[in-house]
Amino acid sequence: MERRRFIKTSATLGSALVLGLEASSFKPAMARSPVQANDDAKSRVVIAHGSDLNKTDHSLSQPHLARLLDATIEAFFQRPAPAAWRSLFSPHDVVGLKVNCLAGVNLSTHPEIVSEIIDRLLLAGVRRQNIIIFDRRNRDLIGAGFKISQERGQVQCVGNDQSGFTEQLFEHGAVASQICRILTQRCTAVINLPILKDHGIVGLSCALKNFFGVINNPNKYHMNVGDPFVADVNMLPPIRDKVRLTICDALTAQYEGGPPFMREWSWPMDSLMCATDMVAMDRIAWDIIEQKRAENGIESLEKAGRKPVYIARAADVEHRLGTDDPARIQVVRV
């Protein structure tokens, strides 16, 4: 509770009431509800900045990382972290951790963060064997520092290329895809663990785009700067119904040259971002990327021809996946 004193919020009058409503309205195993156009509640996005995260050998300091994660969760849920985790997950849940490992060890979800999240899930009562780390391919997971494991009684870690996809076709709008079996057949809940980076086609890769990694055919949906495809993918029921939380690993972020890691355009943001509204998170993430591009004399994503219009699409009346209106987003900096 001490940490609350350090929370700096951009909210103005009435924020306490808004915060209370949002935190108390969250129930375990609750499907993510579309944001209603007339809903007065703001979507909260926490950006928690850490210090002393890197040790002299460039590895991450696990205690500092643990404190950063707890601060992030407490700022978002306005309650002690253990209680927040318990409110999110029950001992009966099978929790998928959707990481983003395409770009290798320098620009992927850190195994150290995943490890801290796993510790908190265990404390919340989730069984070890019911925690599954997954991404598109085993080789991507290995490249980011994860160890493939399907050992009984242990945390599972496996790529979709090994565990396979549904026979069933899931469709929404322009999208028709098969979805990985981990998500459809095993998980009851998902924590979305994206990274924050520029993307050479769709402009931004953060919360919504991370779910291209659960479908069999993301190659079909990179046209037209990902619009409406990114939004449509996130409308598929297994994704819509199971994602309960997004924690963006922004320890390292990249404002140009993505999706691969490009050292010259990355920077140590040393932050975690947290939201339940993925659209709101992406809207704020976009601002961060644009600000960094401007600081470094690089043209805006719009001028570069890859404005991430899929964010607005995800917020429109057809999708209602969240809000992209900055006036309706409460950014909490920790």
Partner: protein, 368 residues
């Protein structure tokens, strides 16, 4: 048959003459299995631009093209499916359908996963719309393709089922190997390919079947995720290259069966490709993302065939209607049946050395 050929043939044993084999992949290929793609340009920052099909995808490092089977790894573009078909069968050549190409012979038919369009009515979507990570493939390099085909007494190798444009390197090299042992190659394609790779293929292929999916850009945009014009350009190119070409037009109720559209298409074929270009009007059955539509009424196919004949085309067929008179080849000079078919089977032929037995008129095609 040497040991290598025997092993290749044995590996295929379970899939030939059966249904397509599809299994969940146990893993993905390592880089050692990869072959550098042809037809691409390197761009700044490890990006590349594919030049294989009109889509011309610009692809970042670590990403794949629209087809899903060509990947940029560190600024070099690789095909992930070279020598890795996911299915292979021995089919009658009439199944392709190619009605004027060595009738009554068998075609060793193979496909890899992947496609450069996304037809909502695709009948093979489980392989065409998949990626190599999803579908089990087996090793069958070009040399083995040719020798399996030869040893199985196939007159041709058919690159088919999915979309051979996207495995053009494998197709090209297999065709070269096939030609060396006297087995010809035919490409069963959507025709959505850039001119240069098509020209290069023409030097090794003996026949092409083009799926002309409609005659409007709207249809291509909404139901194919492609474009009509490049396909028409390919047809004209094939004509200029003197490549034996047949056209299939899948008639989908309410989508591409408008009389005026069919008349315009047939007039275009007559003018640009000539009256001897075979045209097959095939019957649609509900598939993939168009399960809400009915099968094509036979009378619609009959109407379409009549439009083709009225346009002056000599060889217009109905497809997927076994026993229909529109399956037969009629001599354009005397009207006699020169090839009688039921389904994919040739029942009788009154054709020798490419001429009608009755009147001696030449029938366009590749007959020997």
């Amino acid at each position: 048959m040497n040991r290598r050929e025997f092993l290749a043939a044995a590996a295929l044993g379970c899939s030939i003459a059966g249904s397509p084999v599809r299994l969940i992949a146990q893993g993905t290929s390592g880089k050692a299995d990869l072959v550098e793609a042809r037809y691409y340009e390197k761009l700044a920052n490890r990006k590349i631009q594919c030049k294989l099909c009109p889509r011309e995808c610009v692809i970042d490092d670590l990403e794949r093209g629209y087809c899903g089977v060509r990947e940029n790894i560190g600024g070099t573009y690789y095909t992930l499916v070279y020598g890795k078909p996911c299915t292979a069968h021995i089919d009658p050549i009439e199944k392709k359908p190619l009605f004027h190409f060595l009738p009554g012979t068998s075609a060793f038919s193979l496909a890899t996963v992947g496609c450069n369009v996304m037809c909502k009515f695709c009948q093979n979507w489980e392989i065409s719309q998949s990626t190599p990570d999803q579908v089990k493939s087996f090793d069958l390099p070009p040399y083995d393709v040719a020798h399996v085909a030869k040893n199985r007494a196939c007159a041709s190798i058919a690159y088919t089922y999915s979309e051979p444009v996207i495995f053009t390197e494998y197709m090209h090299d297999s065709a070269v190997q096939g030609n060396e042992v006297g087995v010809r190659s035919v490409m069963i394609t959507n025709g959505y390919i850039n001119p240069q790779p098509m020209k290069d293929l023409c030097s090794v292929l003996s026949g092409v079947k083009i799926d002309l999916k409609a005659f409007t850009e709207r249809f291509y945009r909404e139901l194919v995720a492609g474009e009509l014009k490049p396909v028409l350009d390919t047809l004209v190119l094939l004509r200029k290259q003197k490549m034996w070409t047949e056209i299939v037009y899948l008639v989908i109720p309410g989508q591409n069966d408008d009389r005026k559209e069919l008349e315009a298409m047939c007039a275009w074929i007559y003018k640009e490709l000539g009256p001897d270009t075979p045209l097959h009007f095939s019957r649609f059955h509900p598939q993939y993302r168009l399960k809400n539509l009915p099968s094509t009424p036979v009378k619609t196919l009959t109407m379409a065939r009549q439009i083709g004949l009225d346009s002056g085309l000599h060889f217009v067929y109905t497809g997927n209607v076994p026993g229909d008179p529109g399956e037969n080849t009629y001599c354009p000079a005397c009207g006699e049946i020169v090839i009688q078919r039921v389904g994919f089977a040739v029942v009788s032929m009154s054709l020798h050395n490419g001429t009608c037995d009755k009147c001696g008129a030449a029938i366009a095609g590749i007959w020997s």
